[in-house]
């Protein structure tokens, strides 16, 4: 099935293209709009972006697979990403990850059976002052404890 952005997002993409001297510069913004729309970037979406920006599909795939925030498959409704880099590790990110794995009963990369959560690890998110931390979708949660994690997940489900 051919991919299309919503009319609103398509308008946004046109405005973004106009902001740059070179159309190709709109590649990352276009991928963001696609991901906002469907939660991931499908092969059909790649074809759409390539056509809209007048680029070879290979170039779109090239960027897509380089930037780690773009998902190539459908994830759970919420994407939990636990920072495991040095500052979070020094303040207990291993325990946070262990707790989440047990609570959700999934491994890193897995999605809960009800489709609510996908669990990932992630590199430093620039919130080292609130370590250990995680990002859920695009929101930061800092100074994590088991009680706090329970609360966050309850409010998300």
């Amino acid at each position: 099935m051919a991919f299309n952005l919503s009319i609103e997002r398509e308008g946004e993409l046109k405005a973004v293209i106009a902001r740059y001297p070179v159309t190709r510069s709109a590649l990352l913004p276009a991928l963001w709009l696609v991901q906002d729309e469907t939660g991931f970037v499908s092969d059909e979406a790649v074809a759409y972006v390539a056509k809209t920006l007048d680029l070879p599909e290979a170039d779109v795939y090239g960027a897509l697979t380089f930037y780690t925030m773009f998902n190539r498959r459908k994830l759970g409704r919420h994407h939990i990403q636990v920072c495991t880099n040095i500052c979070c590790w020094l303040r207990g990110s291993e325990d946070v990850l262990k707790y989440l794995k047990a609570k959700l009963n999934i491994d890193v990369g897995g999605t809960t059976k009800d489709g609510a959560f996908t669990l990932s690890t992630v590199e430093c998110l620039g919130a080292c002052g609130g370590a250990p931390m995680m990002m859920v979708d695009l929101e930061y949660y800092e100074d994590l404890t088991p009680v706090k994690i329970d609360e966050i997940l309850k409010n998300l489900k």
């Binding site: 902001r19 740059y20 001297p21 070179v22 190709r24 510069s25 709109a26 590649l27 990352l28 913004p29 991928l31 963001w32 920006l53 680029l55 170039d59 090239g62 960027a63 380089f66 930037y67 780690t68 925030m69 773009f70 495991t84 880099n85 040095i86 500052c87 590790w89 020094l90 303040r91 590199e123 430093c124 998110l125 620039g126 919130a127 080292c128 002052g129 609130g130 370590a131 990002m135 695009l138 929101e139 930061y140």
Partner: protein, 414 residues
């Protein structure tokens, strides 16, 4: 010392234009329009301001590299891709005082003659992005940005460009390549961006914190800014401190402050009444220091260099006596291996080999030559690649193994 960068951090709604204007915001813009661009550059040169992204290169000098009277118009890129582990100071500026950044952008753009500026913000900084976007919109509405700023005939458009999750895009040529719509591969220098950068045009890439210092320099004068700090490291610096301390966070200090004073009086000292074991003073890629080395180090470019490390981005990582240095290095190698863009063999393979060897040491499978092999690989990575990502892992490898060798040997012996 005046709060040069943080004077609005505790002000309610400082991110909104009204509050910012009420705090004397955008005052420097009137002033620069009465100056020649060259005079602005000279003022910044005289202030001694150095790039706060990590390299510490003099800002005015960098601006001076932009060729004059070229047919191609210069561009300003703002590096807000803050991704160096331990560093979270630019986020503080963008969230708490975004108009200060925009004011700095206008000054820099005027100085180099740029009419387009691109803020490259890391994709994960979504909240700061929204705050910044709202501030940019306010600046357009009130005539601080746009075709005819304050009716003084200067045009400047600011576009915020969100990254997609790639550490390497914080490297200035990687950042440029990424804005152009490619994988964020760094480029060989020369040509330097000042001559041939974004879209082949003369380009200046400045860090968020660097730009945020400009309004003060223009308003108060270079001499007053230069009266803060040391002879060669002038002005103030934002330090972000994390790890085993009581009060992690972002603090503004005069350059030259003793590291231990900062640790105890700002960061609240080492947590849990434990002893200090190690400090990484300037983001995860600079060499680690032992507690003894940290004792008489000052937080400025020269003193950190004399002690074999760097001030870098000012992202300080503190480790107490319980920290496992082998595991710490393994964690760092996970990061640099993951973030190597893959263009250069010494980096792509070297970060992977280092990561593999450290993993086997952690798993109890270390071999007796492993430490020599790690050091040899690190030696073969330094200075042999397009950008310094390879060095950014090689330096921790060398410093961790040299300074905490016994811990590594014990782990290998099992």
């Amino acid at each position: 010392m005046d709060q040069i960068l943080t004077h609005n951090f505790k002000v309610m709604n400082a991110a909104r234009l009204n509050a910012y204007l009420g705090r004397d915001g955008y005052r420097s813009i009137q002033k620069i329009f009465g100056m020649q661009p060259e005079a602005v550059i000279n003022e910044v040169k005289a202030s001694g301001l150095r790039g706060r992204g990590g390299a510490g290169f003099p800002t005015g000098t960098k601006w001076g590299f932009v060729p004059k009277n070229l047919p191609l118009q210069p561009v300003l890129c703002i590096n807000a891709d803050e991704s160096e582990p331990g560093t979270f100071k630019d986020r503080a500026i963008m969230e708490r005082d975004p108009h200060l950044l925009i004011e700095g952008i206008i000054i820099a753009a005027y100085a180099i003659g740029a009419h387009e500026a691109f803020i490259y913000i890391r994709g994960e900084y979504f909240r700061p992005y929204l705050i910044l976007q709202a501030a940019v919109a306010e600046a357009y509405e009130t005539g601080f940005l746009g075709n005819n700023i304050l009716n003084r005939g200067f045009k400047l458009d600011v576009t915020i460009h969100r990254g997609g999750g790639a550490y390497i895009c914080g490297e200035e040529t990687g950042l440029i390549t990424s804005i152009e719509g490619f994988r964020g591969y760094p480029r060989l220098k020369p040509p330097f961006p000042a001559v041939k950068g974004l879209y082949g045009r003369p380009t200046v890439v400045n860090n968020v914190e660097t730009l945020a210092a400009l309004p003060y320099i223009i308003n108060e004068g270079a001499a007053k800014y230069a009266s803060v700090g040391t002879e060669k490291s002038k002005g103030s610096k934002l330090m972000s401190v994390a790890g085993h301390v009581n009060k992690p966070g972002v603090y503004e200090i005069p350059l030259g402050m003793p590291l231990i004073t900062f640790l105890n009086e700002y960061a609240g000292g080492v947590w849990k009444n434990r002893k200090l074991k190690a400090v990484i003073p300037g983001g995860s890629s600079v060499p680690v220091m032992t507690a003894v080395e940290a004792r008489d180090t000052l937080l400025d470019y020269e003193s950190t260099a004399q002690h074999g490390t760097m001030l870098g981005s000012g992202g300080m990582i503190v480790m107490d006596e319980t920290a496992d240095m082998v595991m710490a290095l393994k964690v760092l190698s996970d990061f640099y291996h993951h973030e190597s863009c893959g263009q250069c063999t010494p980096c792509r393979e070297g970060t992977g080999w280092i990561n593999k060897i450290l993993k086997r040491i952690i798993d109890g499978q270390g071999q007796k030559d492993d430490l020599e092999m790690l050091l040899k690989i690190a030696d073969n990575m330094v200075g042999r690649t397009i950008c310094v990502l390879a060095d950014a892992l090689a330096m921790p490898v060398k410093s961790f193994i040299t300074k905490f060798r016994k811990e590594f040997e014990d782990r290998i012996k099992g």
